[in-house]
Amino acid sequence: MGENVFVLGTLVAPLAGAVVALLFAKNNHAQRLVGLISSIVAWIFSTLMLLQVHQTGVQTYELGNWSPPYGIVLVADSLGGLFAFMVTTIMIGGMLYTLHSRDRCMSYPAFAPLFLLMEVGLVGAMLTGDLFTLFVFMELMVLASVSLTAISDDQFGLEAALKYILISSMGTLFLLLGIAAMYAALGTLNMADMARILLTGERPFLAPASALMLLCAFLLKSAVFPFHFWQPDFHTTAPTPVSAMLSSIVVKVGVYGIIRLVTLLFIVEAPLLQRWLALLGIIGVIFGSLGALRTYNAKRMLAYSTFAQIGFILVGIGWGNTLAMIGAIVYAFNHAFIKSSLLMLMGVVASYTKVKTANFASIVGIGHKLPPLAGWLVLVGGLSLAGVPPLNGFISKLALIRGGVAQQDWVNLILLVSAGILTLIYMVRAWQNIFQRAPIPETTPTKDTGDSLLAPMLLISICLILGIVLAEPLLQLVTETVREIGDPNTYISAVNLSLEGP
């Protein structure tokens, strides 16, 4: 037990890639190639891991052969495995984009290693079975993404990075405080062991307080309503591939953490937490959609849209019945692909302007400079984000709405559907502005070349495949996942705790 190589490989492949990429500091192209190869290796490992999880159940790896609850254990259950698979798949898209990008910041020798370290942080946070290691991996991810944004070509990147690191450090502090409170209350850091003790009905004084602190830290990481104000700045100013990763998979770490909290650790407190999650989610949906509607920059519009889409996911978790949980996880999975491809497409559009900006004032009518394929890709991505059949956004919205109907929460359902219509309005308007309107020559200084469309094309085609061919298998996979996380004993028994008694 506990020696699954694929779980370890998913984590170690990008880490090894980062180290090897540092060795090629003089040769920038080789660095990016190393990054691409190691992210593909990580993807292969994660695919094999996901297959194994669904054939034989939860997979674990005990680091250094120290048995839990004393040692650190990597646990890939179906939820963590699915999220890690999502991260590694989208990371390939990100590395592919950097391969053909002409941004100045990507010629820094630290770019590819930091990008890979961000992947290590993400995958590690989703696969670890130890709460303190989760904190370390999340901090690694934050530091890597802050450094990447600080060196952005956008002149405001530095300011956004400082803003984010100060706010996110507050979140990290509360995470650490919550972990210390859990350790004081339960005397263990292993999540399975914590869940086992909490399942026996024991409620130490500090446990509910710790639940609230952990929840706030995760909400801050995924930019939910009261903690969202850093998000549009940070996601807009980051370099294109980094902002695509931030807006699609980095915000999902928080979602993953919240799902773990309500399904594994704090099942008794879950109804109370979920009522708050639904409320915060619906506020995010409304304000994110309205913010996206009236913003001045295409990338900023997508950042606000992320704020709204995370709201959709949280409402799903907040409803909390089986169908709604399926909806939330499918939504999280599909949104990552749609949003990363759309942000990359906006980066391609911005790369055709002289000053590399995505302000609507500068990119009106720029579409005739781009390959004709770009317009179709933006249209497909936008319609998918809005949830138009037969694209994958429709599948996720449908799954979520089924959950809402089962919960009979009609007010929130009407708000969600109307926010979906707002999504359609702002995406189609952006597409028309860029590809349909005539250019204004004096305000639009353009170039004839720009970034390659290869990476967004790959991700959009995955969206199409997920919407048309793989929709049914994905729903089945997630249904199985929800059945598994519905019973915390599966997770607890899989970790194979070697000691009884608290």
């Binding site: 303190f132 904190f135 370390v136 901090e139 934050v142 530091l143 802050v146 450094s147 600080a150 002149q155 405001f156 530095l158 300011e159 956004a160 990075a161 400082l162 803003k163 690191i165 100060l166 450090s169 507050m170 990290t172 502090l173 650490l176 405080l177 210390a180 409170a181 350790y183 004081a184 005397g187 850091l189 700045d233 100013t237 001045y296």
Partner: protein, 114 residues
């Protein structure tokens, strides 16, 4: 008594840290951030380092007595390393900001406010 002293110290450090973090001067804010991390580390010490009376692993423990918790030291060491990393990154960012904007007053660093 020692628990009360610890609670007082953690509370004071937390208060000072939050106050400093909210200052307009970015360097003071960065230092406030370091103080906040020390408050958390002290909280880690307070929750379990005083449970036992002997050093773990090396002492011969009499029956009915406890050794102190060795895990907490590993945790605090890791937390110190992580906080040191983020603290130096914050200071590095503040340094570049001071070069680029000519000031560390957070009210002057507001180009993102449209």
């Amino acid at each position: 008594m020692i628990e009360f002293m610890f609670a007082l110290a953690i509370g004071m450090l937390f208060g000072i840290g939050v106050f400093q973090l909210l200052r307009r001067d970015l360097i003071k804010a960065a230092i406030g951030f370091a103080i906040l991390f020390s408050a958390i580390n002290l909280f880690f010490v307070a929750v379990s380092a005083f449970d036992g009376e002997y050093a773990p692993f090396v002492s011969n423990v009499e029956a009915g007595r406890q050794t102190s918790d060795p895990l907490i030291q590993a945790l605090i060491l890791t937390a110190i390393v992580v906080s040191f990393g983020s603290f130096s990154l914050v200071l590095g960012l503040v340094n570049i900001i001071s070069l680029r904007y000519g000031t560390v007053d957070s009210n002057a660093v507001n180009n993102l406010k449209h």
